[in-house]
């Protein structure tokens, strides 16, 4: 061979150079599905962004609280004669609201003893239980690159199945509970699995499938709830089931409302951690989530991975439905049993960066907002919608990491930096 040419074909440059190289040469990035890129940017950021997003949301929440506060409005009417009054009113309104939020969710100092004082925290954990398990389900799907928006449907189906076992099958103590839980999880897993199968074999998009299955589940359960002999309580004309049999109800912490579901949530967290970080199935999940092409070439069955991911995701979300009917609302349920948890779970998964431990704490935070929101409304007259606004703002800030970074002047994380640069360059080049 002569050295007539240097056989270094210049198609894909060294990554060393990619930082300086235009999009034109970094071809692979542009072929990545847009949704995956968005996911990566949302999930790829540091935990810092999550924390700062919460802080920012609480700050904006404070502004809303003082804007709606009557004392602040009254005091600002004579702001120029006595500005001190306005500031005092602002302070009172915001600190009052947030301290009731705290006392309603963590520890109530107005109670004489610890057992009573800690009650709000057990309420927080009770609210957190379904958020954690459903959040884990959504997070698991995220890691495989799937958006599971079908939490509502999966919860409803699981709740109905577990609930039916709970009130209609008289079984011995202990066994009844286990059977009800398993049946509920399996129902959720099947509902999720349908999505996985359809996606794998028809290429249908999971977002559309899950949203549509939400409707199917909701109306199916509504129909069954209104059908005597199905889920409807005998002798009643309300679309509501009978109460659970005592043998199927989750045991509670004596004196509190906190039930076995929370223990299951802890176990689920540990299990999902193992699954994602230590198991071979989880390895395949992550590989498919990060780069389905490389996974396919490496012999990983991408279709089967999608199906398994949706089955497990649906099962975890289903567990949230189970703990609702067997733990939280044991007197019989309606089609509103999901209480929006299926959607909040998406928020929880995002806030937790789709990492099991992160999801666990994000779930507790949202549980606290829920528990504290009621007492904030009762004590200070702050509408509970403020809490919803705060929750939504958290998501908004997390979904827009550049916004948070700009506000706090954070540097770009490495991986994102390149992606962003590439997209910028793409935009320029394609002009």
């Amino acid at each position: 061979m002569t050295n007539d040419q240097i056989p270094a074909q210049g198609q894909v440059p060294d990554p060393l150079e990619t930082d300086q190289v235009p999009a034109a040469e970094v071809a692979p990035a542009e072929e990545e599905p847009r949704s995956n890129q968005v996911l990566r940017e949302i999930l790829g950021g540091s935990a810092m962004i999550s924390v700062l997003a919460v802080v920012l949301a609480l700050l904006v929440g404070a502004v809303l609280i003082l804007l709606t506060n009557k004392d602040v409005q009254a005091a600002s009417g004579y702001f120029f004669s006595r500005p001190g009054d306005t500031f005092k009113a602002i302070w009172d309104a915001v600190s009052g609201a947030y301290s009731s939020l705290f006392q309603g969710s963590i520890y109530n100092f107005r109670r004489p003893n610890f057992a009573d004082g800690i009650r709000p925290f057990t309420e927080t954990l009770k609210f957190a239980t379904p958020l954690i398990t459903a959040g884990l389900g959504v997070a698991l799907a995220f890691r495989v690159g799937l958006f599971n928006i079908g939490g509502r449907g999966q919860m409803l189906v699981a709740a109905a199945a577990a609930g039916y076992v709970g009130f209609a099958w008289p079984l011995p103590y202990g066994i009844h509970l286990i059977v009800a839980v398993v049946v509920g999880i399996v129902a959720g897993a099947i509902w999720g699995g349908i999505v996985g199968v359809l996606k794998a074999y028809t290429g249908a998009h999971e977002v559309i499938l899950t949203i549509m299955l939400n409707y199917v589940a909701f109306y199916l359960i509504s129909f069954l709830l209104a059908t005597p002999g199905a889920l409807q309580a005998p002798g009643s004309s309300n679309p509501k089931t009978p109460a659970m049999l005592p043998t199927a109800v989750f045991p509670t912490l004596p004196g509190y409302n906190l039930h076995l579901g929370f223990v299951l949530a802890i176990i689920a967290t540990a299990w999902v951690w193992y699954l994602i970080n230590r198991s071979h199935l989880g390895f395949q999940f992550r590989a498919v989530g990060e780069n389905p092409n490389a996974a396919r070439v490496a012999g990983i069955n991408v279709k089967a991975t999608y199906i398994w991911a949706m089955v497990l995701s649906g099962g975890l979300v289903g567990l949230a439905g189970v703990s609702q009917v067997l733990g939280t609302v044991t007197t019989g349920f309606t089609a509103g049993i999901d209480a929006g948890i299926g959607f909040d779970a998406i928020t929880v998964a995002l806030l937790g960066r789709s990492k099991p431990i992160g999801v666990f704490f994000a779930g507790i935070l949202f549980g606290a907002l829920k528990a504290g929101g009621y007492s904030m409304q009762a004590a200070n007259g702050v509408p509970i919608d403020i809490v919803l606004v705060v929750q939504s703002l958290i998501v908004l800030f997390i979904a827009a990491p550049p916004l948070v970074r700009a506000i706090f002047r954070l540097p770009l994380p490495d991986g994102v930096r390149r992606a962003v640069r590439i997209t910028e360059k793409k935009a320029v080049v394609s002009k």
């Binding site: 240097i6 056989p7 074909q9 210049g10 198609q11 060393l16 300086q20 396919r296």
Partner: protein, 489 residues
């Protein structure tokens, strides 16, 4: 990192100025500064003695700098005229696109240079070489005084390359200045008026077009270059892989591999040569089980591979280096060790469905040493490695299994000289251990360096299978679909 360090470059009107350098030398960065994609931290750009400030490519274009990108910036479903007007669309009354004037412009420029281009042809229907002309017309339609060609021959057949050379000379005669970025010495010597060699972001020197290849090459890499691969005579044994009447229909229902037959013996390298996009990719995908509409026979050591899953084919002893390592070979966000076990699903890597992290760690440490993967550690994310080290990770994974067949597609694309040597040596070692090897390459030099026999593909078919020492011009003709007289098909 300083990609360009105090570079001075003067391009005279009507000259072809070659920018010569290895991959990663900083040529592209320099041109992107010139084209307004990057801003220089220091220094200035003067055009006709006027200092220019380019905030983006738009400014550069207005100032008279045009660029023909390596990967064409064309919209495939638009016509030639639409692509040419894209970015400075002119409209008539009521916002109607003035396609007529764009067509006229295309015709006018085509005639001037004898391009013979139909303004209403869809770009996706045009051959690559013609698409490149559309890019050139696009730049000229904006009155470019300086044209930058970024590795323009990478995607062309030898014949198309020759035609491009002619076009460049025509442009030069018409007074256009040309900056021609390349690392192919032959092309440089054919058209360049002046040569600037760049290495590691610095101008190493200027050279005359009369310089010898060896002089230019050593300037480029900074040491005397010996790119021949040390290999002994092949000792071909029994046929390992036998492919008979293989046809592949791709996802868009195109017949992309047409009735291909060949065999690879144990201990020989069969190189599959051809210009990018003539079915080589789909052929390797079919062998590895990634294509689904496949007819014909594929047998490895007598056992059929056709219709098996990728998993099954890998397990039957096939090692595969995909042509796009970033997209198909590696998970960038995974660590080196995770990538090393990407295609393993059994003991000792996995036991009871659980990853054996301890074993994986030992395995990865060993492979990092064995394959000289330069990284901070085995937990470094593969996306942060250089191309050469990334490819070593892929090789380490694929070569550390029991192999009965090894397929390497574009194994050295984008790699530096040192890594190329390493990869080539490994491929020959694999051959010498008695494994049948297929190397798919669009680089003629690589093909010639490695092959014991060469199969040339054109439009999905094999034009002919010739001995490894076939002259380049013959191979070039075959890559364009012609069978020169005297060559046994």
């Amino acid at each position: 990192m300083v990609a360009n360090d105090h570079i001075d470059l003067v391009v005279e009107p009507g000259e072809i100025h070659c920018l010569l350098g290895e991959n990663g030398a900083g040529k592209s960065t320099l041109m992107n500064v010139l084209y307004g994609l990057y801003q220089a931290d220091e220094g200035e750009i003067l055009l006709d003695d006027k200092v220019q400030h380019f905030a983006g490519p738009g400014d550069a274009m207005n100032a008279g700098i045009g660029m023909v990108h390596q990967h064409f910036m064309l919209i495939p479903v638009f016509t030639v005229a639409e692509n040419v007007m894209l970015g400075h669309e002119e409209t008539t009354f009521g916002g109607r696109l003035d396609l007529a004037s764009a067509r006229d412009k295309v015709r006018e420029i085509s005639e001037r240079f004898g391009f013979d281009l139909d303004p209403d042809a869809l770009v996706e229907d045009l051959p690559v070489g013609v698409q490149q002309r559309v890019e050139i017309i696009k730049a000229l339609s904006r009155d470019a005084k300086v044209l930058v060609f970024d590795e323009p021959t990478a995607v062309l057949t030898p014949q198309e390359t020759d035609e491009l050379m002619v076009i460049m000379k025509q442009l030069k005669q018409a007074g256009t200045s040309i900056v021609f970025i390349t690392h192919k010495l032959r092309e440089v010597r054919e058209v360049a008026d002046r040569i600037t060699v760049i290495r590691l972001g610095k101008v190493i020197g200027e050279a005359e077009p009369t310089a010898t290849n060896a002089e230019l090459a050593s300037l480029m890499v900074g040491r005397a270059v010996d790119l021949t691969v040390d290999k002994s005579e092949a000792k071909p044994g029994e046929p390992g892989l036998v492919v008979k009447d293989l046809s592949v229909i791709d996802a868009r229902n195109q017949l992309v591999v047409n009735n291909v037959s060949f065999e690879v013996r144990r201990g020989e390298v069969l190189a599959i040569a051809g210009v990018q996009g003539n079915g080589q990719t789909e052929l390797t995908e079919a062998l590895i089980g990634l294509q689904h509409k496949v007819s014909g026979l594929i047998t490895l050591d007598g056992r059929s591979l056709r219709g098996r899953s990728v998993r099954g084919i890998l397990d039957s002893g096939v090692g595969f280096v995909p042509e796009d390592r970033k997209e198909d070979g590696l998970v960038a966000e995974f660590t080196i060790s995770e990538n090393l076990m990407l295609d393993r699903d059994s003991e000792p890597f996995v036991k009871w469905g659980t990853l054996q992290l301890k074993y994986l760690e030992e395995f990865a440490e060993e492979k990092v040493k064995e394959f000289d993967i330069r990284a901070q550690g085995i937990t470094t994310h593969v996306g942060r490695l250089s191309g050469g080290n990334q490819q070593k990770v892929v090789l380490a994974r694929e070569l550390s299994r029991e192999l009965r067949l090894f397929i390497a597609a574009q194994p050295t694309r984008g790699l530096d000289v040192g890594s190329i040597e390493f990869v080539h040596t490994r491929i020959i070692e694999t051959r010498d251990s008695g494994v049948p090897v297929i190397v798919v390459s669009t680089e003629l030099d690589e093909v010639v360096a490695l092959a014991d026999r060469i199969a040339v593909m054109y439009r999905g078919g094999i034009v002919g299978i010739v001995p490894g020492d076939t002259p380049r011009d013959v191979l070039g003709l075959m890559m364009a679909g012609e069978i020169p007289a005297g060559v046994v098909a």
